[in-house]
Symmetry: C2
Subunit: 217 residues, 2 copies
DNA sequence: TTATCACGTGAGCGGATATTCACGACAGCT
DNA sequence: AGCTGTCGTGAATATCCGCTCACGTGATAA
């Protein structure tokens, strides 16, 4: 190999691609623009990626891997459920602000122009978190720190629903606007308040009077 | 006016448009296909709508009006908070199954290819429900049937987050898959179970021991 | 120094599709 | 019946953009 694109340049292409795909959506993102912004020619893009679709998938994978890392780091710890939940919230807030495009790209695959990948990616991404959250919740129920009267899978589902919406609310244009409409102009900057309110919401959903009564029996 | 497209035909165009835009996303939806499927010529579409964008916005407005009607019907009643919440859940489940494309279109505007409209539509759509939910919650807090220790706007926000995700989980491909992964194959058909589980989740978030203690004082 | 060839380049081809416009059809009027 | 103006038609046009390929460049080997 003589010149070959450096690893950094290849990464740069992915980053620029993520930005472009996130800004315009997969359908309207422009390959020629990605090439220009990355400082390479269109031709070389097609040496590395078979077509636009392949480039998009590479960008997506890059973004999703980064997001998975954020989640899995939180799951390294052996905290109790609530502490872990708080860490999750904080980590998502930070990540959504630092790398908004990654989250926007994640959101993209839920939209119409990505229908084709919907089932593949749903399995790939959500199976992991569904299993993790499900296990966490079942365990918490067994330990008696969580209400007994709910289907743990449904619980995990609602739990993740709130976390997904939280991510999107920090970086997707529509959801950002909506966030401000609901919670006020400074909602986007006052991370502590949002985190603590969401945590309160979760906390009372986690632990009802019933679950405690059942636990004492 | 001599012939002019009948009101029914104009409605049909909107319905076909909604289906096409929902299936492929605004960017990839094909005007010529919409014309053919509606049984009219492309030309006439351009007599009624300045361009593709204008047609898309008309479809969007049609869909959103229908969705608003679903919500506002529930708000006609003077039920207590929990009863109203249940009605909301049921109405959204029904509507998402009967008119999936309407909800998919709603979801579309949150994605990248619609960035330009994000702020306009966010105000138009969410301001209404934000105000309604916010008022509902403030009132419930005043009556003492709702915990006092949460910011009512944030509460309304989380509340609506769960409802939005519920809608999407019944009709957007990715969210449907995810729904099944989290809650099992039959989640999509067992509406009663989903409704009751979500209601339980809300119920305990609404009413904590603390709120009841405070109320008894 | 020169030949070779691995890589990168970007002008331009081709297909897709949004948009136009010259035309036909037909209702009402005379 | 013939005229007129309103509408609807869809082939044709214009544009955009994904993708290709003939070429340039510079590192290596002889």
């Amino acid at each position: 190999m003589l010149k070959k694109l450096s690893a950094e340049k290849q990464l740069e292409i992915l980053e620029i691609g993520i930005a472009e795909f996130a800004e315009h959506g997969p359908a309207k993102a422009n390959i020629n623009v990605i090439a220009r912004n990355s400082g390479v020619s269109v031709g070389v893009l097609y040496k590395y990626y078979e077509n636009k679709d392949a480039l998009f998938l590479a960008c997506l994978r890059h973004a999703l891997t980064a997001l998975e890392r954020v989640i899995s780091e939180v799951f390294q710890s052996s905290d109790k459920m609530l502490a872990r939940t708080e860490k999750l919230i904080r980590a998502l807030q930070r990540s959504a602000k630092e790398q908004p495009c990654y989250h926007i790209l994640y959101h993209e695959i839920t939209a119409g122009s990505c229908r084709q990948y919907a089932s593949v990616f749903a399995r790939e991404i959500e199976e992991i978190s569904a299993a993790a959250y499900g296990a966490l919740i079942t365990q918490a129920q067994a330990e008696g720190t969580l209400r007994q009267d709910m289907d743990p899978r449904m619980f995990a589902f609602f739990f993740d629903n709130l976390l997904m919406m939280l991510q999107f609310s920090y970086c997707c244009d529509y959801y950002r606007e909506r966030f401000e409409i609901y919670c006020g102009r400074d909602a986007l900057s006052d991370d502590d308040k949002v985190a603590s309110e969401l945590l309160k919401f979760f906390e009372s959903a986690f632990t009802t009077e019933r679950s405690q009564i059942q636990h004492q029996n």
